[in-house]
C-alpha cells in the first residue's frame, strides 16, 4: 500500500463519513460544518489527482463563501432539533426502500463497470496554466456563454431581492 492509496482511503472515508454526518446530525450548524469537512475531503482528492487549482477554488468558493452564507442564514433562523418537523413512518419507509433500491442497483451496475484509472503521477492537466488554455480554446463557448447564466442569476437576485418600488401614480390602484 503506497502513500497514494493510504491518502485515497483516508480522504474517501472522511468524505463519506462527513457526508453522512451532514444528513444525520440534528443541529443544522453541525450539518454545515460536516459539509465543510466534506468539501475539504473532496479538495484532498483533487490534490491527489494533481488538480491543485480546482482544489483551492473548491475551498475558496464553497467552503469560503457559499457555506459562510449558509451559516449566516442558519444562524439567523435559530433552528434547533425541536423545530424539525417529524416525517410520517410510511414516508420514511418509502424513502428508505426507494433510496436503498437505487443504491443497490447502481452498486450492482458499477461493480461490473470497467473504467480506466487516471494517471495521477505524470499528468499535469489540472495545473492552472493548462486549465486556462483549455478553457479559452476548446471550451471557449461554454465558458463564455455561462456569463448569460450568471447575468440572469444576477437579474434574478435584483428582481427577487429588491423592494417593490411603487410609483405614486399606481399606488391608488392597489389601495
Amino acid at each position: 500500500m503506497d502513500i497514494y492509496s493510504i491518502l485515497f482511503w483516508f480522504l474517501s472515508a472522511m468524505a463519506v463519513g462527513s457526508a453522512l454526518g451532514v444528513i444525520l446530525s440534528r443541529n443544522p450548524v453541525n450539518s454545515v460544518m460536516f459539509l465543510i469537512l466534506t468539501f475539504f475531503a473532496i479538495s484532498g482528492h483533487y490534490i491527489i489527482m494533481n488538480a491543485q487549482f480546482l482544489a483551492v477554488v473548491n475551498i475558496i468558493v464553497y467552503a469560503g463563501a457559499i457555506m459562510v452564507l449558509f451559516l449566516f442564514v442558519i444562524m439567523l433562523m435559530n433552528l434547533n432539533a425541536d423545530v424539525e418537523p417529524q416525517k410520517g413512518m410510511m414516508i420514511q419507509l418509502a424513502g428508505v426502500i426507494s433510496g436503498g433500491t437505487l443504491f443497490l442497483v447502481i452498486l450492482m451496475g458499477l461493480t461490473t463497470a470497467k473504467s480506466e484509472l487516471i494517471d495521477t503521477k505524470s499528468s499535469d492537466i489540472g495545473l492552472i496554466s493548462n486549465l486556462g488554455k483549455v478553457l479559452f480554446t476548446k471550451f471557449a463557448l461554454p465558458f463564455e456563454i455561462s456569463s448569460v447564466l450568471f447575468l440572469s442569476a444576477m437579474i434574478g437576485a435584483v428582481v427577487i431581492g429588491k423592494k417593490e418600488h411603487i410609483p405614486a401614480s399606481e399606488k391608488a390602484e392597489i389601495v
Binding site: 447502481i106 451496475g109 458499477l110 461490473t112 463497470a113 470497467k114 473504467s115 480506466e116 480554446t137 476548446k138 471550451f139 471557449a140 463557448l141 461554454p142 456563454i145 455561462s146 448569460v148 447564466l149 447575468l151 440572469s152 442569476a153 437579474i155 434574478g156 435584483v158 428582481v159 427577487i160 429588491k162 417593490e164 418600488h165 411603487i166 410609483p167
Partner: protein
C-alpha cells in the same frame, strides 16, 4: 449562432431599458419590437440554410443581398454547437411562438410587479438557452442550456412578491430543479466515464449493444430522469401543478409551452442521435414513464376545480404525448412530430392563457356565461381547447397524429398507442367542461381588463394559425 448572440444582446438592452425608461408601456413596446426583430433575425438565418424558395422570398421581402454559405450543418466552436436545418427551423418556430406570446400576454407583465424590463430580459435569456438546446453538440452545452433556461424561470415564478403562493412556487421549483440538475450532472459524469467524451456524436461508437458499459446505462437513466423532470414526465411531475398554479399566469403561459417544447427537442436530439443505437436498453423505461404521464396527467386533471390548475395537469398530459416522439427512435417522422406538436401545443396553450389572464376568477364557474358576455373570447377559447383535446381540423389533432404515427411505424408499441387514444378521450371531458361552462351555463364573468381591438385581432390570428396547423400541417414543417 446569430440568434444566440442577438437574444443575449437584446436581453442586455432590456436591462438598460429598465434603468432608463420609467414608463412601463414604453418598455413593453420596446420589448415587442425586439422580439419581432429577433424573429426576423431567425428567419434570415434560416433562409441561409434552407432551400432557395424561402431564401428568395425572404430576401425579396427584406431587400438584402444573397450571401449564402451553404455549408450545413455548421459545427461551431470545436464541435460545441451543431446548427443544422432542423434545429434552426425549430428555433425559428419557437421564436415565432414567443413573439406571439409577447404580443398577446406581454402587456399583462405590468400587473405582476414593477420590474417589467427585467422580466423581458429574463425571457430573452430563456430564449438563449432554448437556442443552445436546439443546437447543442456537447453534454456541457446541454447542461448550460438547461441551466440558462431554468434559472430565469425560478425568478419568474417568484416575481409576484405580494403573493405568498408565488414565492412558494419559486422556492419549490428552485429546490426541486436544483436537485434534478444534480441528477443530470451525475448522469453526464457517468456517461463521460463510459465514453470519455462529452461530444454527442462522438460518443455514438462507444455505445454499442454488445459490450455496453454499465456506467453508460446508469448515466442514460439519470439523464432521462433529469430531463423527465424538466418536461414534467410522470413520476417526476409532482412540482408541476403547484409551480404552474403559483406562478403569475402571464409567466405560466411561457413556462408551460415554449420552454417545455425546447427541452423536448433537446431530449429527442440526445436520445435519438446518441442513444438511438442502444434503444433496447432504455425504451421500455421510457414507455412506462410515458404511460404513467398520460394516466396521471389526464386522470388528475379531471378532478381539478381551477382552470389554471387543470391546464397544469393538461400540460403533464400533453408531455406524455410529446414523449411519443422520443419513443419513436427509428422513425424520421419523430422530428417533424415534435416540431408540429411543439408549435400546435404552444400556440393553443398560449391562446387559452391569453384568455385566462383576462378572467378574474380562475375556477370553472368563473367562465360561466362567457359566451353571452363576450362571444369572441368564448369562440377562440373553444377552438384552442379543441386543439388541445385533439379534435380534427385543429393543430392538436395533426400533432397527435404525427407523434402516434411515428411510434406506429416502429411497430412494437401498439399497446401504448391504444392507451394514449383512450387517455385522449378522457382529456376531452375536462377540456369540454370549460366550453360547457362558457356556452350552457348562466353567469356574469368578470374580466380584469378590457379586450381591446388589438387583442381581438391577435386572438383571431392565433385561431387561424391553430386551424391552419390542422388543415395544412406541411406548411409548418421544414421543406424537404
Amino acid at each position: 449562432m446569430t440568434a444566440i448572440i442577438a437574444t443575449t444582446v437584446f436581453g442586455i438592452i432590456m436591462m438598460f431599458t429598465g434603468l432608463f425608461v420609467d414608463n412601463k408601456k414604453t418598455v413593453s413596446s420596446i420589448a415587442a419590437v425586439l422580439f419581432v426583430a429577433l424573429l426576423g433575425i431567425n428567419i434570415m438565418e434560416l433562409s441561409d440554410a434552407t432551400g432557395p424558395a424561402l431564401r428568395s422570398m425572404t430576401l425579396s421581402l427584406l431587400g438584402t443581398a444573397d450571401n449564402t454559405n451553404g455549408a450545413f450543418p455548421q459545427l461551431l466552436f470545436n464541435n460545441m454547437l451543431r446548427i443544422d436545418k432542423m434545429s434552426m427551423w425549430f428555433g425559428t418556430a419557437m421564436t415565432a411562438c414567443t413573439a406571439l406570446y409577447i404580443l398577446l400576454i406581454g402587456k399583462e407583465f405590468r400587473k405582476v410587479g414593477t420590474h417589467v424590463a427585467e422580466y423581458f430580459a429574463l425571457i430573452f435569456f430563456i430564449l438563449c438557452g432554448l437556442y443552445i438546446l436546439t443546437a447543442y453538440n456537447s453534454m456541457l452545452m446541454l447542461f448550460i442550456g438547461i441551466e440558462i433556461m431554468s434559472i430565469p424561470q425560478y425568478v419568474l415564478a417568484g416575481s409576484d412578491k405580494r403573493n405568498l403562493k408565488s414565492s412558494e412556487a419559486s422556492l419549490k421549483y428552485f429546490l426541486m430543479g436544483a436537485f434534478s440538475t444534480g441528477i443530470l450532472l451525475m448522469g453526464i459524469t457517468l456517461l463521460y466515464g463510459a465514453t470519455r467524451t462529452f461530444n454527442v456524436t462522438e460518443m455514438v461508437p462507444m455505445l454499442h449493444s454488445e459490450s455496453l458499459n454499465p456506467l453508460a446505462i446508469s448515466g442514460i437513466v439519470f439523464i432521462m430522469v433529469a430531463l423527465g423532470f424538466k418536461v414534467s414526465a410522470a413520476p417526476m411531475h409532482t412540482w408541476t401543478p403547484d409551480v404552474y398554479d403559483g406562478t403569475p399566469t402571464a409567466f405560466t403561459a411561457f413556462m408551460a409551452t415554449i420552454v417545455k417544447a425546447g427541452v423536448f427537442f433537446a431530449f429527442l436530439r440526445l436520445f435519438h442521435v446518441s442513444f438511438g443505437n442502444i434503444s433496447e436498453h432504455w425504451l421500455m423505461i421510457l414507455a412506462i414513464v410515458t404511460a404513467l404521464t398520460l394516466l396521471i396527467g389526464n386522470v388528475t386533471a379531471v378532478y381539478q376545480q381551477s382552470v389554471k390548475r387543470m391546464l397544469a395537469y393538461s400540460s403533464i398530459a400533453q408531455a406524455g404525448f410529446m414523449l411519443f416522439s422520443v419513443l419513436a427512435v427509428s422513425s424520421n417522422i419523430a422530428w417533424n412530430g415534435i416540431i408540429l406538436y411543439g408549435v400546435a401545443y404552444s400556440v393553443a396553450t398560449i391562446g387559452v392563457f391569453a384568455v385566462l389572464v383576462k378572467m378574474k376568477d380562475y375556477t370553472y364557474d368563473g367562465f360561466n356565461g362567457l359566451a353571452k358576455k363576450n362571444p369572441l373570447l368564448a369562440f377562440v377559447t373553444t377552438i384552442f381547447l379543441f386543439s388541445l383535446a385533439g379534435i380534427p381540423l385543429t393543430g392538436g389533432f395533426m400533432a397527435k397524429y404525427y407523434v402516434l404515427l411515428a411510434v406506429m411505424h416502429q411497430g412494437n408499441m401498439m399497446w401504448l398507442v391504444i392507451f394514449a387514444l383512450l387517455m385522449a378521450a378522457i382529456s376531452v371531458y375536462y377540456y369540454f367542461r370549460v366550453i360547457i361552462a362558457m356556452y350552457f351555463k348562466q353567469g356574469d364573468p368578470e374580466l380584469t381588463s378590457e379586450v381591446t381591438m388589438g387583442d381581438q385581432v391577435l386572438l383571431i390570428a392565433t385561431t387561424i394559425i391553430v386551424i391552419l396547423l390542422g388543415v395544412m400541417p406541411h406548411w409548418f414543417l421544414m421543406p424537404a
